[in-house]
Amino acid sequence: MTAVDSVRADTFAKLLAHNAAVRGDRPAFRHKDLGIWQTWTWAEVYENVRCLAVGLERLGLKHGEAIAIVGANRPKLYWTVMAAQMLGAVPVPVYADAVADELAYVLAHAEVKFAAVQDQEQVDKILSVSERLPLLRHMIYDEPRGLRDYDHTRLHPMAEVIAEGEEALKDPGVASWLDGIMAAGKGSDVSIILYTSGTTGRSKGVVLTAERCIAAARDTVTFDKLDEKDEVLAYLPLAWVGDHYLNYAQGLVAGFCMACPESAETAMQDLKEIGPTFYFAPPRVFEQILTRVMIRMEDAGRLKRRMFHYFIGVAKRYGEKILNGERVPLGGRLLYGLGRLLVYEPLKNVLGFSRIRVAYTAGEAIGPDLFSFYRSLGLNLKQLYGQTEAFLYVTAQPDGAIKPDTVGPPMPNVEIRLSESGEVLFRSPGMFVGYFKDDEKTKEVLTEDGFIKTGDAGFFDPAGHLKIIDRAKDVGKLNDGSLFPPKYIENKLKFFPNIKEAVAFGHERDYVSCFINIDLTAVGNWAERNNVVYGSYQELAGHPLVYDMIEKNVDEVNRSLAAEPMMAGAQIRRFLILHKELDADDGELTRTQKVRRGFIAERYAPLITALYDGSGEADITTEVTFEDGRKGTISARVKIRDMRIYPAAVKEKAA
């Protein structure tokens, strides 16, 4: 019966009411505050949200009006989202670290009438651009610190708004009015607008409706068997689809508990304390964790270090097989069991991964070795492929059927097809209704039969798992006609801890070559241990021993490329190590740390010329921006190495 109720609920407000009714005593939200995990049950949250909704309504928030949500993950901000949805208003979460200008753009574009913010910092930010926001009527803040002396005509502490609502709700008339509003909420109402952080141009507002969001969340909750006993750490940005989907939507559907960390600095510690059962992190985070693990282990005693590496080796051999339920010799199982005791479980414990049942990563390609590393420890890490426009999920790897280099088969109820050019198109239950105030863009993205163009190039492997190789527009061709997916190659390189960034070139050229940025932490550590003396980044980057080390990495990438029939032509023929770190301040990276290939190619033109004219080294002078904003130039002579090329693997061996 409860299941029926849950299925019938087509808005988040109804889901919330449902949760309060069937699991009112279960924890819904936690927040590490004042030293302990303050906890609210579903019933308490429901009460608070009702009060907040009435309070907001009293301030004048109406059906269909937009309310911006700005701040870190705080229960009260999530409640504001719920309260707005309860009223039929449209929450518009904004990245807390957005600069005032970006914030002003989103708030103005979304025509927000209200803003619910975390603290003084956000209040100040909004006040600083208030002249661009003539529609903004009221601001509500969570943390009163420092705001005492502000003009409070249009500024309200959230606690007060809730208290006012509580007072009003004592009137049964108001309560039944609210019940009425909730019941009148339709699944087809807009439930949220999520602004994407586009790599190019202004961000677009992705409009999602309640019924679609909930439908999608139901599918994935079933898919991963999530239930009310699960816990998640809500540390992803509020404004990102990942947080809204994985934590908020799934949380309301499954009824699990969302825990908000104390602050960004303590997130790792909080992760360890909470020990979530469902976890998501982008590959970058997993990579950082692995790097830290390896660096910390280097400081361990010899014996412990050897033991660690031995058992990591054991895990590599057997771990994934055991996780996938494949056959493993008894000896292997025993060794793995010992490894669990000595290494894997303690390691997962200190990382806070002990209780994870399902973990996902997405956003960009994850290095297969990195992916395998975590899986081999017994962590059920999976990949998914998704987009804001899909309300996240398009494909995901089911338990026990993991292929590291794919993103899995389509999710239930998701249709996928490939265009002639290899672009991935999909239609999904959670898909958006359009971009806010931008029909043109919406039309660009949608096909006539209602599929969404992802802009990614990919193909299905024989098992039906989707493999994404690159942005469709980025995939190039070498002069000999073979495929050149730069990002695919770069990702393979970046998996090595020594390599921080890589930029591959090859489109309309004879062969592939690339720039490499070393990772100062990892290589610096290595240098220290091996008594390699260096005075600067530049010196370290140009050190022959460092070149040797990187050469080995590149060689390995070539081997793995050679093993894939479609990619064999894209092996790296020549590479160089850049004398400076690619930097967002110099415009070489986007603010989200993605390489701007075109800009780099232009800026380092002499180096590219050298890569393709066969010379052994090249001179380069570049302008740089120092940390304090001053500009200067650095010049260097950069060496170039030639690599060995492996023959392509034969597609199918003769029987």
């Binding site: 004042l34 030293g35 002396d149 602050s263």
Partner: protein
């Protein structure tokens, strides 16, 4: 002796503490000679002066650690010839020290909790059990302490023994411990000594926040003149144990005796 009274025009409230004609000697050494000044409710009062001017001794007199030979101290309307440390503390005077005087073997949390000692009532019997009322009391005070930790933004070091903390953080913990006493008068002995610029800015912000949010009256000794002029409502200047000036920062800045004292013009 030129000690012009420049009090006129500054009204921050009633007098909270008045020191009248206080003199303090150690054997034959005169540390303070006939100093009088007052601290008004809600203000930030700075005590400045060259090294050895008797500033710290003055704070020690105010909270009863030193007993002056002459003079009177009036706190909250009660006049005494000398303070006693316990009386000062229980009447609402808290302080921090020039060289951090934290309880090194205890954690940040325990240090600040120790600041709540005076407010805790449960006796030995309940303390032995650490259950029931004793635990309830402990929790009640822990909540207050957590608010302070939150206020001073030291969540991350909550359970770290203070001996392991860097100097700047120790000073912050010490401020927290003083705040835990919910003082009416907070004496800060060089709260920013030995800090880098960023830490100083943080500390200034905290001092102002304490003053404005809790309405705590603050008396502070500080060497950084910029800080003093920015922070304080009124300044008293000591030199060789005597008061040479007293007034709002701008007046004091232009006072000839003060300029002489700081530039070292011989008397």
């Amino acid at each position: 002796m030129r000690a012009p009274d420049m009090d006129a025009g500054v009204t921050a409230g009633d007098v909270l503490l008045a020191v009248e004609n206080v003199s303090l000697r150690f054997g034959g050494v005169k540390a303070i000679t006939d100093v009088s000044f007052d601290i008004r409710k809600g203000e930030i009062r700075a005590i400045i002066g060259p090294n050895g001017a008797g500033k710290t001794s003055m704070l020690n007199v105010i909270n009863g650690f030193y007993h002056p030979q002459d003079g009177r101290i009036t706190f909250k309307g009660r006049t005494r010839s000398k303070m006693r440390p316990y009386v000062a503390a229980s009447q609402g005077i808290a302080r921090t020290f020039q060289n951090v005087a934290l309880f090194k073997g205890m954690t940040t949390l325990d240090n600040i909790m120790a600041g709540r000692t005076l407010k805790m009532r449960r006796g030995f019997f309940w303390q032995m059990l650490r259950h029931g009322p004793a635990m309830a009391e402990e929790i009640e005070h822990r909540k207050v302490v957590e608010e302070i930790i939150d206020f001073l933004e030291i969540e991350a070091i909550r359970k770290v023994p203070v001996g392991r903390l860097p100097y700047g953080l120790q000073k912050r913990v010490e401020l927290g411990r003083a705040l835990a006493m919910e003082p009416e008068l907070l004496l800060l002995d060089e709260p920013m000594a030995g800090m880098n610029l960023e830490e100083k800015e943080d500390m200034c912000r905290f001092i102002l926040d304490v003053n404005s949010q809790f309405g705590t009256t603050i008396a502070l000794i500080e060497h950084d003149m910029g800080v003093v002029m920015d922070l304080s409502d009124r300044v008293v200047v000591l030199e060789y144990g005597r008061k040479i000036a007293d007034g709002v920062p701008d007046e004091v800045k232009s006072n000839q005796a003060v300029i002489d004292a700081y530039l070292g013009v011989p008397h």
